[in-house]
Symmetry: C2
Subunit: 286 residues, 2 copies
């Protein structure tokens, strides 16, 4: 099994070793793709757990020192922290390095990094669409990205070489890499991920506690993502607020139509909405 | 393994051998609880599939003939058909028989059967909360009810003996049997099952087709139930319309609050809604 020359690294730095960062480390190690994997964090304890799980080969609390020899830096932090940490990584890593992230929003991040000095390390935005309602390195998995989509979001200023290297990196972890503009990415994930999260949370929050004992698979499936980390999702929803509001608006219009149909006992209109939903859902597997 | 004398039957009739009716038959046979299991339907083909799967021991298109010797009749039909079929079963089964159903709504059904003659077979409403987005006897399973809740909904006119027999029946299939009034049942399942179904359908229907290729586990989980049978769910939502509208209203209020919080960039208010949703979801397992 060969991933080509470009997919083998001497040193990779991972800033933030939670579910995603930890899974990147585990995948690199399992596939034998990097000799050094430096786990960088703000607190000792998660770094120790990442080391214990074998997701990294060394750890440090010092971002500047940790990225000094990195050929590739993956910033896997809450979206509000990404711009800052990429800037710090860029200031201290080799000028030949490439930096990417794993944030669920892209426009604010890519725009926030547009003025990154051109003669230094390149940044290419990434979003591995392989999350979970669980967080932390204890839920990390070497196959998290395998067979799933990772979106990369270069803009007009990104070099072909940087794109090639970041694409090669995610491909080496088994991901299907798709390229979108930052704006297109944010619009698509608003409907495909951020709206479902908001709806699931609101659905769970609107359920009276005393009804919970009767919850069966339908409620459990529909609300599953509401168990996700609150602050992580608060940041994502706020950062992609315009697209999320558009998606909610579209959802709200259909909800209003459904209420009217139900109030007027218009069976045909109810069935029509259910049929469109079924058609969309049946287009994908279980 | 003994389920007691009351849980062993000579002859049980199942009207409608789809996912639920078929699973009742499979569970009865696997547990050796009934000698004769008569599958009754309106079309030959599903009956043949039920026979082929071993869910019934004989089949007939003639409801009157099929229930003639039944000690217990389970009417597992779309909710709009249940009252009619229970009446027909009651008119032809032994006066000592007990009849139950498996409908997802209870008030309309129990009220629709209140005038059933008192000197004949007794009816006790049931709702095994063990559905699936899949339908048909090919997805039936002997363990579908095992460890899951079945709600039974006797009213003030139901005899203790009939309640005991229907409770014993579902218990014998492995279900945890809970008793609720028909009105309480409908209110609880509106929030715990019918609202999630409506929300999942609307969410799926509001997703632009061109965004579907990027759908990941979040969208798939949140919309899973939208794949359910359209007419079955149209009937359920219409029959429980008042409670469903109340649930949608509660959901809609929270959705409005969320939109306002997002528009005003009120991070605390967003986090509060997400936190309540997470708290509700975390109260239950995966």
């Amino acid at each position: 099994l060969s991933y080509g020359v470009a997919s083998n690294w001497h040193s990779i730095a991972i800033v933030g070793v939670g579910l995603i960062g930890g899974s990147v480390g585990l995948a690199l190690r399992e596939r034998g793709l990097a000799r050094r994997i430096v786990g960088i964090g703000r607190r000792k304890e998660p770094l120790e757990r990442a080391m214990h799980r074998g997701a990294v080969t060394e750890t440090t609390l010092d971002l500047a020192g940790g990225v000094r020899e990195a050929e590739l830096v993956v910033v896997s932090r809450p979206v509000e922290r990404i711009v800052e940490d990429v800037r710090e990584a860029a200031a201290h890593c080799p000028a030949t390095a490439v930096i990417t992230d794993a944030g669920s929003t892209k426009r604010a991040i890519v725009e926030g990094l547009r003025d990154l000095r051109r003669d230094g390390a390149a940044f290419v935005g990434s979003h591995p669409m392989a999350g979970s309602q669980k967080s932390g390195v204890e839920h990390a998995a070497a196959d998290l990205f395998s067979g799933r989509t990772t979106v990369i979001t270069p803009d007009e200023s990104t070099s072909a070489e940087a794109i090639r290297r970041v694409r090669g990196f995610w491909s080496a972890l088994g991901a299907n890499v798709v390229t979108l503009s930052p704006a297109d990415h944010d619009e698509v994930v608003a409907t495909i991920s951020h709206l479902p999260h908001a709806v699931a949370s609101i659905l769970a929050a609107s359920t009276p506690v005393e009804h919970l004992p009767l919850a069966a698979t339908g409620w459990l499936d529909t609300t599953r993502v509401a168990a996700g980390d609150v602050d992580m999702w608060r940041q994502i929803l706020q950062q992609n607020r315009e697209c999320v509001l558009q998606s909610i608006h579209r959802f709200g219009k259909l909800l209003e139509g459904f209420v009217t149909a139900l109030e007027q006992e218009d069976g045909e209109a109810i069935a029509e909405i259910l049929a469109i939903g079924k058609q969309r859902r049946d287009a994908l597997a279980d």
